[in-house]
């Protein structure tokens, strides 16, 4: 603990926004008035919102102080499983804020918007190459909206065949958003149990797949960090019953250049640009969730599509079978720029990124497997899942371990997910953390395991170093205070 990065420093207090400032202050430079007043009908005009008046200094200090209470990838290692908290390159921010891109109006005539259209066109091609699925839409604003888009594509595909299927298969190792996304399309989720190896059995899927089932939603690698070895057989079973295979590509960071999703039998896949493609997560978003599909599914993709004709790009709505639109414009374009810049910076090294991500996860797994219970002791992909089984004898839980890790200066891993493992601790180091940081994390976790045996109350009381200690979530939900 002595040498851990998470020692306390000076933490400044800061009141709520409306407790600072004074009526009459201003933090905004209004343009000079060069026209006369034109008041509206007085019935329409109100008093204006009850906002505090702050000076620019008030605003700057307020948010600077708030920011210091946050932990980001730039602060330290963030091994949050399934979230791929890799480094967010600074150059990507620069590119996205170039005035020509940041100030571009989305409805400009195409001849005035060739730059943005080319970025979208090329990004689609790159993502097609990386996934092996030839047609791409960039419109979904996040992974869950990508899933919804995928389910709408399933719905449209079956509808064209005059079928209305009512069920969807979802393995117990899939992402938590999957059932909710499927429900928006009226599909009832049928859970599929993984086998004792932590992956899908073709026989189990064969027993559950029928002609009233729209298809299956597979996360591959799955949320145990394991590759679905039987995916080709599973896909064949689903296809034989007229169903489709959806792959949740949130874990694509493990397999860039390693597998081709089309060859695995995947029909529809979403990517999370804010995971695999290095765009920042912004404390909850904006993300971007492009969807990649086979030629068979392409006619159903959202409109507009970007098309190229003799080096000129334009948008086309002429897709009679399209599911329509799921974003007012073209999705989170500013995030797409960052992913585009990342791919151009990496080139073929994307494969190396996946190899290193898998290397780092396996290294952590090997170093920790005697200390923490490892439910599936086999080679993992980009993340590995431990549990608190060995620590339960000291009445120490996964939550306590996670909270104690904060005191050591790390963001905790994902906890209690996947549900298929009790007390899961899901560690995803990513390829951008150097070996020294992996060793520091491992050492911290070893030290915490020792504390669990010797001084378990330290874990139960953790964290003690951040701005606040554990928060009363029960009261927050029972007596909601959602605005001040």
């Amino acid at each position: 603990m002595k040498n851990a990065v998470g020692t306390t420093g000076l933490i400044l207090n800061e009141p709520l926004l409306w407790k600072i400032g004074k009526k009459g202050r201003s933090g905004f430079s209004l343009p000079r008035r060069d026209i006369d007043l034109s008041p509206l009908d007085s019935d329409l005009e109100g008093q204006g919102p009850d906002f505090p008046d702050l000076s620019e200094v008030d605003v700057v200090r307020h948010y600077t102080r708030l920011s210091t209470w946050n932990f980001g990838v730039d602060t330290g290692m963030y091994p949050l499983g399934s979230c791929t908290m890799k480094y967010n390159p600074k150059t990507n921010e620069r590119q996205a804020s170039l005035p020509g891109l940041a100030q571009a109006h989305p409805l400009l005539p195409p001849q005035l918007a060739q730059g943005t259209l080319k970025i979208m066109y090329d990004l689609e091609r790159y993502l097609a190459e990386i996934t092996g699925l030839p047609a791409v839409t960039l419109q979904p604003a996040a992974g869950a909206q990508g899933e919804l888009t995928g389910m709408l594509l399933f719905f449209a595909f079956h509808k064209r065949k005059h079928q209305k299927r009512s069920k969807i298969l979802i393995p117990d190792t899939a992402h938590g958003t999957n059932p909710a996304s499927a429900a928006l399309c009226g599909y009832k989720s049928i859970p599929v149990n993984s086998n004792k190896e932590g992956i899908l059995d073709p026989e189990t899927v064969a027993g559950q797949m029928d002609e009233d089932t729209a298809g299956i939603m597979i996360t591959n690698p799955n949320t145990l960090g394991l590759f679905e070895d039987n995916i080709r057989q599973v896909a064949a079973i689903v296809h034989a019953k007229g169903g489709l295979v959806y792959a949740d590509g949130a874990n694509m960071n493990a397999v860039m250049g390693i597998v081709n999703m089309a060859d695995l039998g995947v029909d529809v896949l979403h990517l999370n640009l804010h995971k695999t493609f290095s765009t920042p997560h912004g404390g909850g978003g904006p993300g971007s969730g492009p969807v990649c599909v086979t030629r068979e599914i392409e006619p159903f993709l959202p409109v507009p599509r970007v098309i190229r004709h003799e080096d000129q790009y334009r948008l086309s709505d002429d897709r009679p079978e399209s599911i329509g639109k799921i974003h007012a414009f073209y999705g989170n374009f500013g995030i797409q720029i960052r992913a585009y810049a990342y791919i151009l910076s990496m080139g073929a090294d994307l494969k190396k990124a996946s190899q290193f991500a898998v290397l780092s996860a396996n290294y952590i797994k090997e170093r920790l497997k005697g200390v923490y219970h490892l439910p599936y002791d086999k080679p993992c992909m980009h993340e590995c899942v431990f549990t608190d089984k060995h620590q339960q004898q000291y009445r120490v839980t996964t939550l306590d371990i996670a909270k104690r890790l904060i005191d050591y200066g790390f963001h905790p891993p994902t906890i209690y997910f996947p549900l298929v493992v009790q007390g899961a601790i899901m560690v995803e180091p990513t390829e951008t953390e150097p070996k020294e940081n992996l060793d520091q994390l491992v050492d911290a976790l070893i030290s915490i395991a020792a504390e669990a045996a010797e001084k378990p109350e330290r874990l139960r009381e953790a964290p003690v170093n951040p701005k606040v200690r554990r928060l009363d979530e029960t009261t927050a939900a029972r007596k909601p205070c959602l605005a001040g």
Partner: protein
């Protein structure tokens, strides 16, 4: 590669710990018929210098100010973003953190979002606001799905003066549900016509937009009275220009049950249409039916104030298929930007800025009318309005483009009956000379 820190030595040591011989070995457990045979066919890696040059060239192909005068709003607005907001938003503690699942190390994001929720309720005049939706369009779709859940009725009416692209998104979200969507026509004055609603008691919600797609301010109060003639029917007020509520009476104060829309105007660059900000607020009675994340205030073990994500039993990761929405990642950083922007403006500033938008837009509208152009809709407008250019207007429009003026949005592709009609927008970023130039060029 500068983002990949492992040296050959690191790799060798790690492989030895694992007991693997090579990087390829790490994937040996994957069945051979699943492994990719070919290499990734991508452009060669660019240096930072090459990338800068490449991106600058692409950016230079775009029509933006100051080279172009773009009089276009239609759901994406040009407002000045203070440097302070830009720089604060670039604080990497905000930028590079994940969703605040671990509240002890996320208090910055959590308090910022709590403050955003508070400012949003004050701006829209409603009790509760969520932490954001993807954009105005998906926010409207989710508001209408919420109304269906609340009322258990399966029909909605939507004004044809709601943004045409939002209506397309609503239709996409509704397609698998089989719920009925009916579009309402507009009146001669550019406001929504409710006269065709004859089955209010079968209707979950009526959705309008104000200011609407023609820029006209709807009479929300009288619409609300008509809608609430049935006590269950909900009025959903959508918007694309929230700055208007710096000046106009808020939708909540006029009777809206849900107000939702696009918050891009509040300190977020247009960025070719995204990322923006889906703002979403409702009356308290509907809290537990709301989609999206909520931040709530609470206390820590020592009794200090702190914030957490709360009421997550509505959400996808707990309720799974019974969740109120599937949304997970939202537009958190954009919500933070909007809060910073609203804080920088303050109550006094947002009113002054809104007045300036109203006045500048009125100036251009007046100047065009004076020059003999028809502004067909008589209802009051905020910072957008419709004008009819005579005769061969596509030619006029193209001629103006050759002079580096984008004279608004041609409406004919969205409203076939409005040939030669254009939707123009003027914000505080346009000078009087810019507007005079447009009038001069369009009349020449």
């Amino acid at each position: 590669m500068r983002y990949l820190p492992h040296t050959d030595d690191d790799v060798a040591q790690m492989l030895a710990t694992i007991g693997a011989n090579s990087l390829e070995d790490l994937f040996a457990s994957i069945p051979a018929d699943c492994l990719r045979k070919d290499d990734l066919d991508l452009p060669g890696a660019m240096t930072e210098w090459e990338l800068n040059k490449h991106m600058e060239r692409l950016a230079s192909e775009m029509a933006v100010c100051p080279e172009y005068l773009v009089f276009m709003g239609a759901g994406s607005y040009d407002h000045y973003i203070p440097e302070a907001v830009k720089q604060l938003l670039a604080r990497s503690e905000f930028l590079t953190s994940y969703t605040p699942y671990q509240p002890e190390v996320s208090q910055g994001t959590l308090q910022a979002i709590y403050e955003y929720q508070t400012l949003t309720t004050r701006l829209l005049g409603l009790d509760v606001a969520n932490a954001s939706m993807y954009d105005g369009a998906s926010g409207l779709a989710e508001a209408l799905l919420m109304a269906v859940r609340v009322t258990r009725r399966k029909k909605i009416y939507i004004s044809s003066l709601c943004h045409p692209l939002y209506r397309q998104v609503v239709r996409t979200y509704f397609e698998p549900t089989g719920y009925d969507i009916v579009e309402l026509p507009y009146l001669k004055n550019g406001r929504t016509d409710l006269s065709q609603v004859t089955d209010l008691d079968a209707c979950a919600a009526i959705a309008i937009q104000s200011p609407n797609f023609f820029g006209c301010i709807e009479d929300i109060e009288s619409l609300a009275k008509k809608v609430h003639a049935d006590p269950k029917t909900m009025l959903v007020v959508s918007f694309t220009e929230p700055l208007a509520y710096g000046l106009l009476k808020s939708p909540g104060s006029l009777g809206a049950d849900i107000a939702c829309g696009e918050g891009q105007s509040l300190g977020i660059p247009r960025s070719f249409g995204g990322p923006g900000l889906g703002m979403f607020a409702a009356k308290k009675a509907y809290l537990r039916n709301m989609p999206g994340r909520l931040v709530g205030q609470t206390k820590d073990l020592d009794g200090r104030r702190g914030f957490v994500l709360t009421l997550s039993t509505r959400e996808q990761h707990i309720r799974r298929e019974k969740a109120t929405s599937n949304i997970c990642s939202n537009q958190g950083l954009c919500a933070t930007a909007a809060a910073m922007y609203m804080a920088a403006l303050g109550g006094t500033g947002i009113r002054e800025l809104a007045c300036l938008n109203r006045d500048k837009s009125a100036y251009l509208k007046g100047a065009l009318a004076h020059a003999g152009f028809n502004t067909p809709f008589s209802a009051p407008t905020f910072n957008e309005f419709v004008v009819r250019f005579p005769g061969d207007s596509p030619e006029t429009y193209d001629r103006l483009i050759s002079k580096k003026i984008v004279a608004g949005l041609p409406l004919v592709s969205y409203y076939p009956e409005l040939k030669n009609h254009y939707l123009l927008c003027v914000t505080e970023t346009m000078d009087r000379e810019d507007m005079d130039l447009l009038v001069k060029e369009v009349t020449s």
